[in-house]
Amino acid sequence: MSEPARRGGGGPALLGVFALAAVVWAAIAWSSIQRDPGLGGWLTGLFGGGFVALLVAGAGAWAVMLLVLGPARRAAQQEQAVFEPGDELGQILAELEVARRRTERQINAGAVWRIPLCILGAVAFWLWTQVGDDPADTWDLLMFMGAAAVAGYFWAAWTLSQAYRRLYKERVLPRLAAGFGQLAWRPAQPPLEEFRRHRLFPDWDACQAEDEIFGDYRGMPLSIVELKLTKGSGKNRRTVFRGLTAAVTLPRGLKGTTVVIPDRGMFGNLAERLRGGPCQPVRLEDPTFEKAYEVYGSDQISARALLTPAFMERFLAFAAAGHFGAPAALVQDNRLLMALGTMGGRDLFEPPSYRQPAAARDALTQLHDDIASVLRAADAVIDLDQAARLQPRG
């Protein structure tokens, strides 16, 4: 690799930073002299502006070293390293590492002109305020410049980092999921219309669902989706549901639709019943279950064939175990879907940042553990049904 390429364009970037610092110095000096044309204004402008310009130059040089020179040096070192792809995952990670470095270079190249451009915009805005009735002071300038630098970096990074994130998920998660059996990963396709039609969740207007683990598990078709539903916007936005939906096709002969939702209080339940629809209330014999849940079904017998006394006991025990909030269930023929709310927590299946190596052990371990944890939820759902429990574990 040639020496200029190894420096990664650091020289022009440093020149740009020093030019920016000079512009800031000149702008502060001009502003100060405008306010006070006397000696005090000149001195404040020259020394105060000079101080701020030094700060800008120092921060800019640090940013150039971090964004341009550092990655270029690391890339040069890593290019010499020989990656021995031991297996399919190793090969995938090697390819992703190439994509990551390309992404990092592209982001840094974009940041080199986007950050100064945004800072210049901030300086221009600050200068514009100087001719008004309430001129912004020097600290405001620093604040504007800091915010502009951050905005410029995000401008450069957002689209590319999202593309890398998607690529990482599409390549690594299916392979990790396959390690747990006949499972794979795909972008989530939750049955939102079914959720809305059967009012599995309280009213919601926005959905966020990225990841789905699907395939055959313990001999049954399985689909697990990480789901977040919200209502409202801005400060009024509230989370209606956040957690997992785990759907399994049970080895049963169930018919029709059964919906089990947490009790929504006297008025909530009454409103639910007045809305009508194909499902009628199902009254069950277990008073504890009846108090905690509302059940609606299109087939009274099929609903009870699933909600046996043993199933209800296990359902209550599952809810009381405290790993998840009060679960809800939607059963359509043999397909049992459970909505398991999690208490806060982080997003699952998050790939490592483009700033981390693609084969970062911590990140891969975390992704592996995420899949293991959602499969534990699937185990719990499958074990609710006695008939399914008798199936051999895959």
């Binding site: 009274q300 017998i301 009870r304 046996t308 006991e313 025990a317 008939a387």
Partner: protein, 190 residues
């Protein structure tokens, strides 16, 4: 004064009508639940010849048990669709005997490893479990419907309104066999 009397009369008439409508609705729900039981029992009856055919190949010494089950099936099948409370009670008794007979058959089959591991028998047993789960579900729906009807008919002035609604003798409960009545302990299943 007259106005108050008329209001009281109107409220009483409306109240009685609502009660009458509730009884009719619950009576119809009992009929629906009874029909649901018959559907599930039919499925049980349809399965029995297959089970007996498989079992005969291995259970040469259990001919009495097999004959009993066949006889109970015939009796139960004759009573499907009956709506008279007495006939319904007899049907339920016969079905409980049939269920107990099938339970004995599967218990006996445990002692015959070849029969127990026969593919057809394994499938038949899984289907039987499913059918029995559905029979139990239908029984729970029916009993819940009968309870609701009995409450509406036996709480005053239900007795008066029930005659108007055409509800004479109240339908019997479908009692679960003794072995199905044990308490459920979730810890056993977790």
């Amino acid at each position: 004064m007259d106005g108050i009397v008329w209001i009281i009369v109107a409220v009483a008439v409306v109240g009685l009508y609502v009660w009458y409508a509730a009884i009719v609705k619950r009576r119809n729900q009992v009929a629906e639940a009874l029909s649901g039981i018959d559907v599930q029992l039919s499925q049980r009856h349809e399965l029995i010849p297959n089970i007996l055919a498989i079992a005969k190949r291995y259970l040469a010494h259990e001919q009495t048990l097999l004959a009993d089950i066949a006889r109970l099936r015939t009796t139960g099948q004759e009573r499907l669709g009956s709506t008279d409370p007495k006939a319904i009670a007899e049907k339920f008794a016969a079905e409980n005997q049939l269920g107990a007979g099938l339970g004995r058959l599967f218990a006996v089959a445990e002692g015959y490893p070849e029969l127990k591991s026969d593919d057809l028998m394994v499938k038949a047993q899984a289907t039987y479990q499913e059918v029995e789960t559905n029979v139990a579900a239908a029984r729970r729906f029916y009993n819940a419907s009968v309870t609701a009807l009995r409450n509406a008919c036996q709480i005053f002035p239900g007795q008066l309104v029930a005659a108007l609604a055409g509800v004479g003798q109240l339908p019997p409960f479908f009692e679960a066999p003794a072995e199905h009545r044990g308490p459920v302990n979730a810890a056993d299943h977790l």
